[in-house]
Structures are given as structure tokens and as C-alpha cells.
């Protein structure tokens, strides 16, 4: 069971994640060639890059309007990408050498960061329930995806501290991580790629066509 989840299933998850995203991009570009000529007509690389830049970094009016949420969501995204990549480096090492176990590494910082991440996700969930303008557009899927994102951190934290059932936690940890990877191409999480496309478009649309910024 454990071997299967760590071996073939991990590969499946990675392949679905990568191939899924490539497929989604190819399908979208293909459709755009047929139905979005206007985008190509007014595309501007410099406006596109500036639009992405101002939103990848907190350099826009919206961030200033919602400072608390912005800090939270930036921390959320940085940890989301940072913590697994950081840990993955160890797991890859482990995988290649078959000698060291990644979960036995002393990862004090990652441990605290996982806790911080859980707190951030809790904040995001509560915000959705409390803020009327977020609540009214929130769907069950929005909560579920936040839970899916939280699970690898929660189970990883529990496994690290050997709470509840260690082996079960490790298995759940890997399963939930794999689930998240598989879901990315097919849910709103695909925004990790499409963000760049939609920002490039709106940046050009407002910038190139009417000389107005979108940040």
C-alpha cells in the first residue's frame, strides 16, 4: 500500500498534473486561434508583462484596498509553493539514494511553517464565511479546495509529530498531496497557469487598446 502510493501513484499524479496542464494550455490556445482573433490583434508583450508583474508582486490598487487579506493570501501562496518544493528536494534525494528518510530530517522551520499555513487556511475559510462579499460568491467547491490544500500540511504535521497513527498519516499525507496535484489542471486551481494568460490579455486589452493600466 505505502509502496504503491509512494511509487506508481506518485508518478501518476505527476503525469496527470503536468500532462493535464499541457493539454489544457494546448486546448485553450487552439480554441483562441479560432475564436479570439481580437486578442492577438491587440496583444502587446510589454503591457502583458507589466500586467503580470504588477499582480505577481503586490503592486496594485486591489492589494492596497484589502491589506489584511492580501498579506494572508501572499503568505498562503508563498508557503504553498515554497514548503513542498523545499521538502521535495529532500524527498528526491531520498528517492535517488534510498538511504535517508525525508520525514526524519530535523525540519523545525518547515514544521512551524506548516502550522502557519494551517492558520492561514483557517483564516481564508473563516473569511469566506464572515465577509458578505466573499460569502455570497463562495461555493462548496471553494471550501473543499481549501481543505484539499490544507490536508497535506495537516497530515504532514501530524506525521512529523507522530501523533495519532503515524503510518496512516504518512499515507494520507501522500494521498492528499497527490490529490491536490491531480486536481490542479481541472479545477480553479488551474489559475497557477491561466493567471498568466488572463493577466496578459487584460493588460494588453486595456493598455494597448486604450492606454489604461489594470493595476
Amino acid at each position: 500500500m505505502y509502496e504503491f502510493i509512494r511509487g506508481p501513484l506518485l508518478w501518476v499524479a505527476f503525469i496527470v498534473f503536468i500532462a493535464g496542464l499541457i493539454y489544457r494550455i494546448a486546448a485553450l490556445v487552439n480554441l483562441s486561434l479560432k475564436k479570439d482573433q481580437v486578442v492577438y490583434d491587440h496583444f502587446s508583450t510589454s503591457w502583458a508583462l507589466r500586467s503580470i508583474f504588477h499582480w505577481l508582486l503586490p503592486l496594485n490598487r486591489t492589494v492596497a484596498q484589502y491589506p489584511v487579506y492580501s498579506i494572508m493570501t501572499y503568505a498562503f501562496h508563498i508557503l504553498l509553493l515554497g514548503v513542498p518544493i523545499f521538502l521535495l528536494a529532500h524527498s528526491v534525494l531520498w528517492y535517488e539514494s534510498w538511504q535517508i528518510s525525508w520525514w526524519s530530517l530535523p525540519e523545525d522551520v518547515a514544521d512551524y511553517l506548516s502550522l502557519l499555513m494551517l492558520a492561514l487556511i483557517l483564516f481564508l475559510i473563516i473569511r469566506r464565511m464572515v465577509a458578505p462579499y466573499a460569502r455570497i460568491v463562495t461555493t462548496a467547491a471553494d471550501y473543499l479546495l481549501l481543505v484539499v490544500v490544507a490536508l497535506p500540511f495537516l497530515t504532514g504535521y501530524l506525521a512529523y509529530h507522530q501523533w495519532i497513527n503515524y503510518h496512516l498519516m504518512v499515507i494520507l499525507h501522500m494521498l492528499s498531496g497527490e490529490l491536490m496535484l491531480i486536481l490542479i489542471p481541472f479545477t480553479k486551481l488551474s489559475h497557477m497557469i491561466f493567471f498568466f494568460f488572463s493577466r496578459a490579455h487584460i493588460g494588453s486589452e486595456f493598455g494597448e487598446r486604450r492606454g489604461t493600466v489594470t493595476w
Binding site: L28, S32, W55, T62, Y66, Y69, F195, F206
Partner: protein, 249 residues
């Protein structure tokens, strides 16, 4: 009321509007709510969340896609209420959305779909009929239009000697166009514009056709009529070999 809804036509329209952008936007919305503050409707209604941009899109176009066009007349009436009554399609929200989702375009698409079923605010329906009848939103006849211009020429000419309102002059630098409400209710506007052109020594003209630069058909979501309106103006400019088209403020 009570008339059947042609869901096939709606489905066709929805499919036609499903560009790569539309597909991406429908999927991408994080439901984060950050577009709320950007909309003056939301601010003017004490931050009532039903006025926030993404909610309005979800309730109208989003619902149409979800139901694959199978919507009722009541639904279309509600959409009219939102897409015209709670949004001006000003596009400000897309400047504030982290993903730059063009919600105004989506509301516009919803309006177009309502239009296929005759669900359009009355005033706009009237305007569209007027455009088809006389080429301008007030259904002003060509004689009335030319007469108004002549009248303004003589009235303004009394104050400024030598002032002319050149009609249908070929090869002018500027072909000036107006809002049809001006000749109808505020003809002095035309005299004022003529004064400016005259003092500036501009080589200008006005056309006897395609002179209304408003496009209420666009607000009605009527693609056929909105094309007709724009085309009239361009055709006039081409016919008169005008170098530029100027529109009233």
C-alpha cells in the same frame, strides 16, 4: 410575459460566445470577492453584496452556461434587472480583479442573450427601432436634421460673421458627429461646436447621414443593429472622403 423561450437560440449564442477567454474566465474566478469595492453600484448600495460584480455575472451569464441555455422567461426578466439595472458595463471591475476577468463583457453577453428573446428595457427597444427607421436614436428625419443645422448656421452666424456649417462637404479634415439628443433638445450645442471649428479655422463638415455617434444598440446587446449604426458613420466618412471622424463630448 408567458411567451415561450427559445432555448436553442440561447444555446447557440452561448456556444458562439464561448471563446478561449470566456472559458478561462468562467473557470478562473477564485470567488475571492476582491472586485466588490471597484463597483459604484456596490458602494452606492451600502455594500449590499448582491451588487458586487462577480455575483452579478454568476447570477446571469454564469447561470445560463450552467443550465446550458435552458432558462425560463422569469430568469431572463431577473437577468434584465441585473444586467441593465445593476451594471452599466463600465468595465472598472476588470481593472481590480486579480485575474483581470472582463466581467463587463460577460454582462454584455448576457444582455445580448436577453435581447434574442425580446427581453430588453423599453427605452432601448425604442432606440433600436429608431436606428432602423431613421438611422439615429431619436428617429429624427433627414429633413429635420438638415433644417436644424441650417437654423443653427443662421442663428450662430448672427453673432459670428462668416460662420458656416458645411454639410456633406467632400475631403474635409474632420467629419463631426453628434448625439442625436443634441439636434432634438439642445440644438445650440451644434452652434457652439461650429463656433469652435470656425474660430480654429478647421476644415470640417457634417454628414446628412450617419451623423448620430451614439450607439444605444450596443447597450441593448443588439449586435446586428450596433453594427448597422457604426457602419452608417463609417460609410458616411468614406463617401465624404473625410480624413477623421470627431464625436461630440
Amino acid at each position: 410575459m408567458g411567451e415561450p423561450v427559445n432555448t436553442e437560440v440561447i444555446k447557440e449564442r452561448l456556444d458562439a460566445a464561448k471563446s478561449a477567454r470566456m472559458k478561462m474566465w468562467l473557470e478562473l474566478c477564485a470567488h475571492c470577492g476582491l472586485c466588490a469595492e471597484s463597483c459604484f453600484f456596490y458602494l452606492a448600495h451600502d455594500k449590499d453584496p448582491t451588487y458586487m460584480p462577480s455575483y452579478k455575472v454568476i447570477k446571469t451569464l454564469g447561470e445560463m452556461y450552467k443550465k446550458k441555455g435552458k432558462v425560463s422567461r422569469e430568469f431572463l426578466e431577473e437577468t434584465l434587472d441585473i444586467a441593465w439595472g445593476k451594471c452599466t458595463v463600465c468595465r472598472r471591475c476588470s481593472q481590480f480583479c486579480p485575474f483581470g476577468i472582463d466581467m463587463a463583457l460577460m454582462i454584455s453577453t448576457a444582455r445580448g442573450i436577453c435581447n434574442t428573446q425580446g427581453v430588453v428595457p423599453e427605452g432601448l427597444q425604442k432606440a433600436v427601432a429608431n436606428y432602423w427607421a431613421e438611422g439615429n436614436q431619436m428617429a429624427m428625419t433627414k429633413e429635420d436634421w438638415l433644417e436644424t443645422c441650417t437654423w443653427m448656421e443662421s442663428e450662430t452666424g448672427e453673432e459670428i460673421a462668416g460662420l458656416k456649417i458645411p454639410m456633406d462637404k467632400e475631403g474635409a479634415n474632420i467629419m463631426y458627429t453628434v448625439n442625436a439628443r443634441e439636434p432634438m433638445y439642445y440644438p445650440q450645442d451644434i452652434g457652439m461646436a461650429a463656433t469652435i471649428f470656425h474660430i480654429a479655422g478647421e476644415d470640417w463638415t457634417m454628414s446628412s447621414e450617419g451623423w448620430d455617434d451614439t450607439n444605444l444598440a450596443m447597450f441593448a446587446g443588439d449586435t446586428k443593429c450596433m453594427t448597422h449604426v457604426v457602419k452608417q458613420t463609417y460609410d458616411a466618412a468614406i463617401r465624404l472622403k473625410a480624413k477623421n471622424i470627431a464625436i461630440t463630448e
